[in-house]
């Protein structure tokens, strides 16, 4: 399994042709307490860079962009009752959705963990 990161602070963990997407721990820290997560519909086909999910916090409502193109297989149902999972466990239990990648080559444009760390430190 390999984990990639975007400039918009999403992470995607890829296992075969399945990717699990969430927002980074840095992003949740910037947003503050998350109060609601709007998730993509299962079965929806999404393009790379499409706004597919919305994370509401006490400060702002923020779009989450799909790091790659694909078909949404599953959304994290636990977030309906516990949006705070995105705060407490952003890069694991607070995942947003899983998709089947249609073009794995799109991953090449994303950052690895070290590059993302450097990107955040430069902000």
């Amino acid at each position: 399994m390999t984990r990639y990161f975007t400039k918009d602070h999403e992470w995607i963990e890829v296992d075969g042709d399945t990717g699990t997407v969430g927002i980074t721990d840095y992003a949740q820290g910037q947003l503050g307490d998350i109060t609601f997560v709007e998730l993509p519909a299962e079965g929806a086909s999404v393009g790379k860079g499409d706004a597919v999910s919305v994370v509401d916090s006490v400060k702002a409502a923020s779009d989450v962009y799909s790091p790659v193109s694909g078909t949404v297989d599953q959304a994290n149902a636990a977030l309906a009752d516990e949006p705070e999972l995105v705060n407490s466990d952003a890069e694991k239990g607070g995942w947003l959705f899983r998709l089947t990648l249609t073009d794995p080559a799109e991953l090449d444009g994303l950052m690895d963990e070290a590059a993302y760390k450097a990107f955040v430190e430069a902000l």
């Binding site: 307490d33 109060t35 609601f36 509401d56 006490v58 400060k59 702002a60 949006p83 705070e84």
Partner: protein
């Protein structure tokens, strides 16, 4: 001796009790700051403020009948009056003090406006009255329309939109109609990062796809990024000028020309027109549609949800598609209301529809026209000058203690923007905002615009005096210094408001929207106890 009582001419207000900090009163009220329960908690079924007659006649057959009395609280008349008066005392309003909300333009509402709007000839008319009996009221709409067109250098105006975002929708529907009339399909509206938050929402609501254009390092639209995105799928751009960073877009004409060159239209969010009224005519900048918030620039009251009024001025290209109804004066001096049945006679057959059932916000029209006529052309210019001067006074008075991200790029317009850079670890914009409540001020706009970290957006408006601004600046300076020094007491502010810091997260995650508490003193019987009475 406090700063507010420097001469010592009145007794000092105590902030501690002889009994110590945790003293509570028997009633739960403190001095004359009164707590107020819900009307359901005051009310009971044994009392009622009005005498109601027993229902007469037989029930209409076939209609569902209520089997139980509604569970409404009975209050006496004085209890009702006190309930709402007490609640009103917990409110904060522009008539109580400065309201420095950036992007909202909370300024003084001149009493002359109020006097004129209450004249019976304006206040007591009905929208369905014969037009011959309301020529004066129609004349106000027509005259105001004339001045809005003159001040903006535009071709036409739709007076009916009820607020800023409603005006945005009206403008975009005009753009949509114009594109359809050309037989084209253009589905994308570009929205710069420095635009008002309502702009992308409006474009999406009107059925367009929204794409963002980045801001450059100076807080303005990145012209090259914009040009790179222009193409045949672009319906237009929604731009806020002056923008929400409080900055004027110097490339506005170049932006308009570029968008026009590919067949698109330029919508300008005119919410910040108070910074440029009498100085710049948006029509000269190539703008095709712009709403004007009468409740901002032209000082009609707002807050608490209304009433707004958002007329939209239109270019010659978009005017044919504007909504009905509108006013038109014929050579005989009669003012007509142009509706569906006479639209063709007034050469307006391509209008996209209507934005409201009737003429628009009449009460706001009378106030705005009073404001325009009482200020005159020179007075309106001074409005813009003073709004900009006051904002720059705030910006320059605080930039040594608060980081001002765009202060280097020249003077700001109507609002000053600061960030939370430099605060001690763990201290945020929210702590400063809550501290302002303790200082007796409504907080500024926080965490907006999003392009600035921990944004604090202050719009003093032209109606605050220098001494009033100095008091506000002194308070904000002290709070900024406390946040930088890591003064932990700021974390629990406000300390002196009727409520301490509220748990906004819990309120948003687990809101309690329905009262299910204990009934009032006498006890409201439940619907099942009332039975089939």
């Amino acid at each position: 001796m406090s700063a507010a009582n420097a001469a010592g001419w009145r007794p000092t207000m105590g902030d501690t009790t002889p009994q110590g900090e945790n003293f509570t009163t028997k009633s739960g009220d403190y001095g004359l700051m009164l707590e107020e329960p819900l009307s359901f908690e005051i009310g009971g079924r044994e009392k009622c403020g009005v005498d109601l007659d027993d229902p007469q006649g037989a029930p209409v057959a076939g209609l569902p009948l209520r089997k139980a009395a509604p569970d409404l609280p009975g209050l006496t008349e004085p209890e009702t009056v006190r309930h709402y008066t007490r609640l009103s005392r917990q409110n904060y309003a522009i008539d109580l003090g400065p309201f420095p909300l950036g992007s909202c333009t909370m300024k003084h509402n001149p009493r002359l406006n109020e006097k004129v709007s209450r004249l019976p000839g304006f206040a007591d008319v009905h929208p369905l009255q014969p037009q011959s009996s309301v020529q004066g009221a129609l004349g106000v709409i027509n005259e105001l329309a004339h001045w809005l067109i003159a001040l903006t250098g535009m071709h036409g105006v739709a007076m009916t939109p009820k607020a800023g975002a409603h005006g945005e929708l009206c403008g975009l529907l005009c753009i949509k109609a114009a594109i359809e009339a050309r037989g084209e399909q253009r589905g994308v509206i570009l929205v710069p990062e420095s635009a008002h938050g309502t702009n992308p929402a409006t474009a999406a609501f009107a059925g367009f796809k929204v794409e963002s254009i980045p801001a450059n390092a100076a807080g303005r639209v990145d012209l090259e990024a914009l040009k790179a995105r222009l193409g045949p799928d672009i319906a237009g751009i929604m731009i806020t000028n002056p923008n929400t960073c409080g900055l004027f877009e110097p490339d506005m004409k170049a932006i308009s020309d570029a968008v026009h060159a590919i067949g698109g239209y330029v919508y300008c969010d005119g919410a910040n027109f108070n910074a440029i009224v009498g100085k710049v005519r948006p029509g000269d900048l190539g703008i095709d549609a712009m709403h004007i918030n009468l409740h901002k620039t032209f000082s009609t009251p707002h807050g608490g949800g209304g009433p707004g009024s958002g007329p939209v001025v239109l270019s010659e290209a978009l005017s044919p598609y504007g909504p009905l109804p509108f006013t038109a004066k014929t050579a005989d001096g009669v003012i007509h209301l142009v509706e569906e049945e006479n639209a063709q006679a007034f050469d307006h057959s391509q209008g996209f529809g209507r934005m409201s059932a009737f003429h628009g916000q009449m009460g706001m029209f009378t106030r705005a026209l009073t404001y325009i006529l009482s200020h005159g052309a020179d007075g309106l210019q001074q409005v813009a000058e003073d709004a900009v001067l006051n904002a720059n006074y705030v910006l320059r008075s605080l930039e040594d203690v608060l980081q001002a991200p765009f202060a280097e790029s020249g003077p700001c317009m109507h609002e000053a923007l600061f960030s939370d850079r430099g605060f001690a670890d763990g201290f945020s914009t929210q702590d400063v905002a809550k501290g302002l409540i303790d200082e007796g001020f409504h907080p500024m706009t926080v965490y907006f615009p999003l392009v600035v970290h921990g944004a604090m957006l202050v719009e003093p408006t032209e109606t605050e005096s220098k001494s009033g601004l100095d008091r506000f600046i002194a308070s904000l300076r002290s709070l900024a210094e406390r946040a930088k020094a890591g003064d932990r007491s700021l974390h629990s502010a406000p300390h002196f408001a009727p409520r301490r810091r509220l748990d906004e997260t819990l309120a948003a995650r687990k809101p309690i929207l329905v009262w299910k508490g204990e009934p009032g003193p006498a006890g409201l019987p439940s619907p099942s106890e009332i039975g089939d009475r």
